[in-house]
C-alpha cells in the first residue's frame, strides 16, 4: 500500500514536471515582459505560432532543434507587433495583446492546415539516465521515475529558472529591467532608452512563448492541431500574477498546475474514493485556470493589492517622457 501510494505520488509529480514545462517557458517569458512594464495578453497566440513554426520546420528540415529555434524566432517576431503598438504607438496593451492572440490563432489555422495530418516528425529527444536507478533506495523509487526518462525540454526548464532568477536579481541588465518596469523615468534620466528595453523584453517574452509552443508540438504532445495550446497561454498569464513576478514561484506554479491536471485522472482509479468526494474533478478543474486569472486580474486592478502583490509599478502604462506619474 505504501509503495503504491508512493508510485501514485511520483506519477503525478512526474507528469507535473512534464506538462508544466511549456507553461514554465511561457510564464517566465510573460514575467520578463511584465517586469519591463508591458502586459502582453498575446501569449496564447505566440505559443501557437511557435508550435506551428517548430513543427513545420522540424518536419521540413528533419532537425527538431532547428524547429525549436524557428518556433522561438516566430514567437519573437510576432511579439514585435505588440511592441510596436504598445511602445512606439503607446496603444492600449490589453487590446493589442488580445489582437495578438487572434492574429496568432488565425494565422496558424490557415498556415497549419497542411500539417494536421502529419504525425511522424523528428521530435526532441528524451534523456535517459539509467544510472539514477542504481542509487540506493531513492534511486529506483523516486529519482529514476521522476528524472530518468524526461524529455530534454524538461531539463531546459530546470536550467531556465535559476538563470532568469539570477539575471533579474543579480545582474546589471536585470537591474535595468526592474527599473524600466518600476520607474521608467529614472531609466530615461540616466540616458537609456525605455523603448529599446521594452522592445527587447517583449521580444524575449515572445521567444519564450514560442519555445513553449515548440516544446508542446515537438516534445510534450508531438502533433500539430489547430488551437492545440487549448488555453495554456491564458494560464501562463494567470500564473505570472500567482507568481507575484518571481521566477521561482512561476516555476513552482507551472509544475503545480501540470500536476493538478494529472491528479484527478489518477484519483479516478483509487477504489476507496468515490467520484462524489473528488471535488477537483470535472468542470471545477477546467474552471481553475480561468477562475485563477479572474481573481488575479481583480487583485491587480486594485492599487493597494497591486502594491502588496509586487506588481511592477509601471505595468500597463505607456511611457511618455515628461508626463506626470510614471
Amino acid at each position: 500500500m505504501e509503495a503504491a501510494s508512493l508510485v501514485f505520488i511520483i506519477n503525478i509529480i512526474g507528469a507535473g514536471l512534464r506538462t508544466g514545462t511549456p507553461l514554465l517557458f511561457a510564464t517566465t517569458g510573460e514575467l520578463l515582459t511584465e517586469r519591463s512594464g508591458v502586459l502582453n495578453l498575446g501569449v496564447e497566440g505566440m505559443m501557437l505560432v511557435g508550435a506551428l513554426a517548430g513543427f513545420a520546420v522540424s518536419y521540413n528540415t528533419g532537425n527538431p532543434w532547428v524547429g525549436v529555434l524557428a518556433g522561438m524566432l516566430a514567437g519573437g517576431v510576432l511579439s514585435q507587433l505588440h511592441a510596436f503598438v504598445t511602445v512606439t504607438l503607446r496603444g492600449d496593451q490589453v487590446v493589442s495583446g488580445l489582437a495578438l492572440t487572434f492574429v496568432g490563432r488565425g494565422l496558424t489555422a490557415v498556415l497549419g492546415a497542411p500539417y494536421v495530418q502529419i504525425r511522424d516528425i523528428p521530435t526532441l529527444p528524451t534523456i535517459s539516465l539509467p544510472f539514477l536507478e542504481s542509487i540506493p533506495i531513492i534511486g529506483p523509487l523516486i529519482l529514476f521515475p521522476l528524472f530518468g526518462n524526461q524529455n530534454v525540454v524538461v531539463w531546459l526548464g530546470f536550467l531556465l529558472t535559476p538563470f532568469v532568477a539570477f539575471y533579474i536579481a543579480r545582474t546589471r541588465s536585470g537591474l535595468n529591467l526592474r527599473a524600466v518596469g518600476e520607474y521608467p523615468a529614472a531609466v530615461d534620466a540616466v540616458g537609456m532608452s525605455v523603448a529599446k528595453l521594452r522592445y527587447f523584453y517583449i521580444f524575449i517574452g515572445g521567444v519564450l512563448a514560442g519555445l513553449a509552443g515548440a516544446a508542446l508540438s515537438l516534445a510534450i504532445t508531438p502533433l500539430w492541431i489547430e488551437d492545440m495550446t487549448a488555453g495554456q497561454g491564458w494560464i501562463a498569464v494567470g500564473l505570472v500574477i500567482f507568481a507575484q513576478w518571481n521566477p521561482w514561484r512561476a516555476a513552482l506554479g507551472a509544475y503545480i498546475f501540470g500536476a493538478l491536471r494529472r491528479l484527478p485522472l489518477d484519483l479516478q482509479s483509487v477504489p476507496w474514493l468515490p467520484f462524489a468526494s473528488n471535488p477537483i474533478l470535472g468542470v471545477w478543474l477546467s474552471m481553475i485556470p480561468y477562475l485563477f486569472t479572474i481573481v488575479a486580474l481583480m487583485l491587480t486592478s486594485n492599487a493597494r493589492s497591486r502594491k502588496r502583490m509586487g506588481t511592477p509599478a509601471a505595468l500597463g502604462i505607456p511611457y511618455v517622457r515628461g508626463e506626470r506619474g510614471l
Partner: protein, 454 residues
C-alpha cells in the same frame, strides 16, 4: 494631428498584417504538394470566414459581423454570404476544421456535399461557442438567406430550435440532439456504438496478445452518448477476450491535447496496454506507441495517419452521403424533419482498416481479423445493429443484472432519455427510457464509475 498619424499607422499596419495572412494562405495551398493532403487543396482561403480578426479591424465587404465570446475572449465572426440561384447550405462547427477529429470529419462531409451535389453552395463557421452566441450566429445565417443550416454539436440544440421557429422557410438540421419539429427542424445521429464495438473486439484481442488483459478507454463527458459508446467497446472487448478488463478515465473535455495524452499515461501507468480514445486528438495513441503499446483513435478516417505502426483502427464518421441525401430532399421539396439515427448499413459509419479498399494496421492481431471483418460485414448489411449489441443478458460492472436475458434496449434506452432529461431540455414526443444508459457494463473494472455531470 498626431492622433491622425497614429491612426494612419495603425491602419497601415493592420493592412500589412492581412497581406501577410493572405500570403500565408497561398503557402498553405502550395504546401500540400509536398505532402498529399487532398482535402486542404479544395479549401479556398476566402472560404474561411470564421477566422478571427483584430477587433479594431473594419468589416470587409460582404457579410455581417458578430462578436462572440470565444476561447480567447471576444472574437469576430463574419457571416458568409449566399450565392443567388443556388441551394445555400451553411454549417456551424464547434471546433476548428483543423482539429483532425470531429469537426474535420464534418468538414469532409461538407466538401463531399459541394462536390457531389447539384447547384449547391456551402459555407461554414468554425469554433462557434455553444449557447447564446450560437443562437445569434445561426439567426444571422438564416437571415442571410441560407436554405439549409447544419449545426453540428449537442450544445446547439436549443439555439437551433429557437431560430427554427423564427425562420419557417429554412431547413435546420441539428446533430447529436433529440429535438425536432414537424416543419423545418430535424436531427441526425448515427450508431457509432457499432464501430466502437469493433474497436473493443480488436482492443481485447490485442490486450490478450500483450498478456496484460487490460484495455484503457478515455471518456470525454459522463453523458449517455459517451457511456453508450464506452459500453459498446467493453462488450466488444469481452467478445474476443472474456478475461479482459477495461479501465476508464473521464476528462471532461472533447479537445485538450495535453489532458488527453495525460489520461492515456494515467491508464498506461495502471497497466493498460491498449488505449481507446473517445476524444478528438490521436495523442493517446501516440502515448501508447511511445511505450511500445497500441491504441485506437476516433472521429475521422485520417486520425491515425503517421501512426500506422501503433494504431489498431479508427471508428470514424462518414457524413457526406447523409448530408447530400438531406439537401437533395430539401431541393426536391420532399424533406420531412425526423429523428434520423443512421446505422452502419446507412453508410455513415466506418472502422478504418477494415472498410472496402483498406488494410488492417500491422499491429492488429492476425487471429482477430476474420472475426472483426465478419462482424463489420454483418453490420454493413444491416444484420447486426446497435440493438443486437445491447441485448441481454448484460450485467453492470458491480454484477447486477441491468438488461435481463431476452430483453433488447429501445432507442430511448440507448439515448438515455430519462423523463428528467427530457423535461430539462424540453424534448417532446419521445418515450422515456426504462433501462436508461447510466451504468457501466461488465467488462469495466469494478472500481470504474460514472461521475456526476455537475
Amino acid at each position: 494631428m498626431k492622433k491622425r498619424t497614429l491612426w494612419t499607422l495603425l491602419v497601415a499596419m493592420t493592412a500589412l498584417l492581412f497581406l501577410l495572412a493572405a500570403c500565408g494562405g497561398g503557402q498553405a495551398e502550395e504546401a500540400p504538394a509536398e505532402e498529399p493532403a487532398p482535402a486542404e487543396e479544395e479549401m479556398p482561403a476566402e472560404e474561411a470566414p470564421a477566422e478571427e480578426e483584430m477587433p479594431a479591424e473594419e468589416e470587409a465587404a460582404g457579410g455581417e459581423t458578430l462578436t462572440v465570446q470565444g476561447f480567447a475572449g471576444e472574437q469576430t465572426v463574419t457571416i458568409p454570404t449566399v450565392e443567388e440561384g443556388m441551394t445555400n447550405v451553411a454549417f456551424v462547427y464547434v471546433g476548428p476544421i483543423g482539429d483532425g477529429g470531429w469537426t474535420y470529419a464534418h468538414n469532409q462531409g461538407r466538401l463531399y456535399l459541394e462536390e457531389n451535389g447539384d447547384n449547391i453552395h456551402t459555407a461554414y463557421l468554425e469554433s462557434i461557442p455553444e449557447g447564446a452566441d450560437a443562437e445569434r450566429v445561426i439567426r444571422s445565417l438564416a437571415r442571410q438567406g441560407f436554405d439549409v443550416i447544419f449545426t453540428t454539436s449537442f450544445g446547439y440544440m436549443d439555439p437551433t430550435a429557437t431560430v427554427a421557429e423564427e425562420f419557417p422557410d429554412t431547413a435546420f438540421i441539428h446533430l447529436t440532439g433529440q429535438k425536432k419539429n414537424d416543419t423545418n427542424f430535424g436531427n441526425v445521429m448515427g450508431a457509432m456504438e457499432d464501430m466502437k464495438y469493433l474497436a473493443g473486439m480488436v482492443a481485447g484481442a490485442k490486450a490478450a496478445e500483450d498478456g496484460s488483459n487490460r484495455v484503457g478507454i478515455i471518456a470525454p463527458f459522463p453523458i449517455a452518448e459517451v457511456i453508450r459508446l464506452s459500453n459498446a467497446a467493453a462488450l466488444g472487448m469481452r467478445q474476443t477476450c472474456p478475461e479482459c478488463e477495461m479501465d476508464i478515465r473521464w476528462i471532461f473535455t472533447w479537445f485538450d491535447p495535453v489532458l488527453e495524452r495525460e489520461a492515456a499515461e494515467s491508464l498506461l501507468d495502471d497497466g493498460a496496454t491498449v488505449i481507446i480514445t473517445g476524444a478528438d486528438t490521436p495523442g493517446p495513441v501516440q502515448a501508447a506507441g511511445d511505450r511500445g503499446f497500441t491504441g485506437l483513435a476516433y472521429d475521422s478516417d485520417n486520425a491515425c495517419v503517421g501512426l500506422e505502426d501503433v494504431c489498431l483502427g479508427v471508428p470514424y464518421w462518414i457524413w457526406g452521403p447523409v448530408y447530400l441525401d438531406i439537401v437533395e430532399q430539401v431541393q426536391a421539396g420532399t424533406w420531412v424533419p425526423e429523428d434520423f439515427y443512421g446505422e452502419a448499413s446507412d453508410g455513415m459509419l466506418g472502422f478504418f482498416g477494415f472498410m472496402e479498399g483498406q488494410e488492417p494496421y500491422p499491429s492488429v492481431p492476425e487471429s482477430v481479423i476474420p472475426e472483426v471483418q465478419d462482424m463489420l460485414d454483418k453490420m454493413l448489411a444491416g444484420d447486426f445493429t446497435r440493438f443486437d449489441i445491447f441485448t441481454g443478458p448484460i450485467n453492470d460492472n458491480q454484477g447486477n443484472v441491468v438488461i435481463p436475458e431476452g430483453t433488447t434496449l429501445t432507442q430511448s434506452d440507448l439515448e438515455g432519455l430519462s423523463q428528467g432529461y427530457m423535461d430539462a431540455f424540453g424534448i417532446e414526443g419521445r418515450e422515456a427510457c426504462t433501462i436508461c444508459m447510466d451504468y457501466l457494463v461488465e467488462g469495466f473494472t469494478p472500481t470504474a464509475e460514472i461521475p456526476p455531470l455537475d
